[in-house]
């Protein structure tokens, strides 16, 4: 095992790219809420960036990637990064320093937790969100990450393919967002269908653009080498994001007008869907993957907003849960041996799709039930929700004592 400087350089750059995605989520979500809650929404992602960074080096990495315990969880030998050094790991990514691999994985944990916040904006108590996030990282993320990516993880042994996190990141976050919303309840005025106008759509577009940019690190970086496989993931990533953005734009146009919020959302959905497939499928397969992802997500979102029953406010489930689920299934369909070694349906391996679906079912059931329990635990102990007055005033003032846009006096 010797360090390859090209691989190391690319992984370090990719790590920085994925880091930028969490502030991008902050902008993407922050622009969509009402003006009185924009800072609180941004703060959720930013605080999670700091919080999970610390938890990850203290114990998160060890629980996720440490020596396998029954396929379920990693051991504690890497607590506080003991034994995680400048030399490559003997298990993961043999051409880069172990520290670089650890930090790359940290960024995935961070963004997964941040993604969930889109469901609970404008009403969750900030302190409770941080406590929930700590519990969720420990008891949901670290386990699911170990099952799929940890050496000896049981879903990996079953043969579930997930190149860059369609299940660990997107399904996991989407389903957990839904469960957390069900415990938290809807925003005041949601059931009465009061309009909740986004405060800054250009900010949403900036967030979406930065996510697209960072996603090259997310997917192409997941090759863990700087070569052909990374290039394949790079091309599939861009192509799927583009296909889904165009599809969403056209669907909006058919219904009324091509909306800017729509095209920004479509890109993210396509990028989520290609994530598990990016290193397994031919670049052209990313077009149907993106197109179908956008259609599925669009109609799930349409149905949710039409029904008006569940205030999963920024549609984390419809974007990431649906996009990720389709992406994992699509990986089973379109994986071709020539790209990443694994064979899917188009290569005659009819068994891969059922394996993918089994993996999805396990993760959905696990993430939903544990998240629901953790949310209930936080709710009955310290309370998940702000008071009615605090919600009316807005979380920027009530939780953080700040307002985003200054008043008349300057």
């Amino acid at each position: 095992m010797s360090i390859d400087t090209g691989d190391t350089a690319w992984l370090l750059v990719s790590t920085a790219l994925v880091m930028l995605m969490t502030p991008a989520v902050a902008l993407f979500y922050g622009g969509m809420v009402r003006r009185k809650n924009v800072l609180s929404t941004i703060m959720m992602s930013f605080a999670i960036l700091a919080l999970v960074s610390i938890l990850w080096v203290l114990y998160g990495y060890s629980l996720s990637f440490g020596s396998d315990k029954g396929g379920i969880i990693g051991g504690l030998e890497w607590l506080g990064l003991m034994g995680v050094g400048q030399e490559p790991s003997s298990i993961y990514a043999h051409t880069v320093p172990h520290l670089a691999f650890m930090m790359f994985q940290a960024m995935f944990a961070i963004i997964t937790v941040a993604l969930i916040t889109g469901a609970v904006v404008e009403r969750i108590k900030f302190g409770s969100l941080l406590i929930f996030s700590t519990l969720w990282l420990t008891l949901v993320y670290c386990l699911v990450a170990h099952w799929i990516w940890g050496s000896g993880g049981w879903l990996a042994r079953l043969g579930v393919l997930d190149f860059a996190g369609g299940s660990v990141v997107h399904i996991n976050a989407g389903v957990s967002a839904l469960a957390l919303t069900l415990v938290l309840g809807s925003r005041k005025g949601f059931k009465e269908r009061e309009p909740m106008e986004p405060n800054n759509i250009p900010m949403v577009v900036l967030g979406s653009g930065l996510l697209w940019f960072g996603w090259f690190g997310f997917n192409a970086g997941s090759a863990l080498t700087a070569g052909g496989l990374a290039s394949n993931a790079f091309v599939t990533t861009n192509t799927a994001g583009a296909a889904a953005a165009l599809t969403w734009m056209i669907l909006g146009w058919i219904h009324r007008r091509p909306s800017v919020l729509g095209v920004a959302t479509g890109a993210v959905v396509g990028l989520a869907a290609i994530t598990p497939a990016s290193g397994f499928v031919h670049p052209i397969a990313s077009i149907p993957i993106g197109v179908i992802a956008a259609m599925l997500s669009y109609y799930v979102m349409f149905w949710r907003s039409r029904a008006g029953k569940i205030d999963e406010s920024l549609d984390v489930f419809a974007c990431h849960g649906v996009g990720g689920t389709w992406g994992i299934i699509a990986t089973g369909i379109f994986a071709t041996g020539a790209v990443g070694g694994a064979k899917g349906l188009i290569d005659g391996n009819w068994l891969q799709v059922p394996i993918q679906i089994a993996g999805i079912a396990v993760i959905i059931a696990f993430a939903f039930s544990i998240t629901w329990l953790l949310a209930k635990l936080v709710d009955v102990t310290i309370g998940l929700r702000v008071s009615s007055e605090e919600e009316t005033v807005g979380l920027d003032i009530s939780q953080h004592g700040e307002r985003a846009y200054g008043g008349l006096l300057r």
Binding site: G252, S259, L261, G262, Y298, S305, D315
Partner: protein, 113 residues
């Protein structure tokens, strides 16, 4: 003296400003406001579908005029703010003004406007 408060469509601001200038009224105060009349709300695009906000953006122009100029100013504003659409062109209110002071010189009332 009367204060003319005109609530008009955003896109009619320039036409009304030019009409007021042609009546030699160069001073005015303009605000972006929201409100509604018979037009009710505004329908906007969401990521999927659409939603309706309860108030529309409008422009409010305030200009203080001499009593004898009121009819021609009202005429200038209303003819230039009209679109011919069924609703949404706005309203004009006429309010009596007690007095006025030009801050720079201390000139009073009709000399101050």
């Amino acid at each position: 003296m009367k204060k003319i408060e005109a609530i008009i469509r955003e896109e009619k601001l320039d036409a009304v400003r030019i009409a007021l200038e042609s009546q030699s009224y160069f001073g005015m105060t303009v605000s972006e406001v929201i409100g509604r009349g018979r037009q009710k709300g505004l329908t906007l695009q969401w990521r999927v579908g659409e939603y309706c906000v309860n108030f529309l953006p409008k422009i409010k122009i305030e200009v203080v005029v001499l009593d004898e100029d009121v009819p021609k100013v009202l005429n200038a504003i209303s003819t230039n703010a009209r679109t011919g659409e069924e609703r949404g062109d706005g309203k004009i209110f006429i309010i009596p003004v007690e007095g006025a002071v030009r801050v720079r010189t201390g000139e009073m009332d009709e000399n101050a406007i």
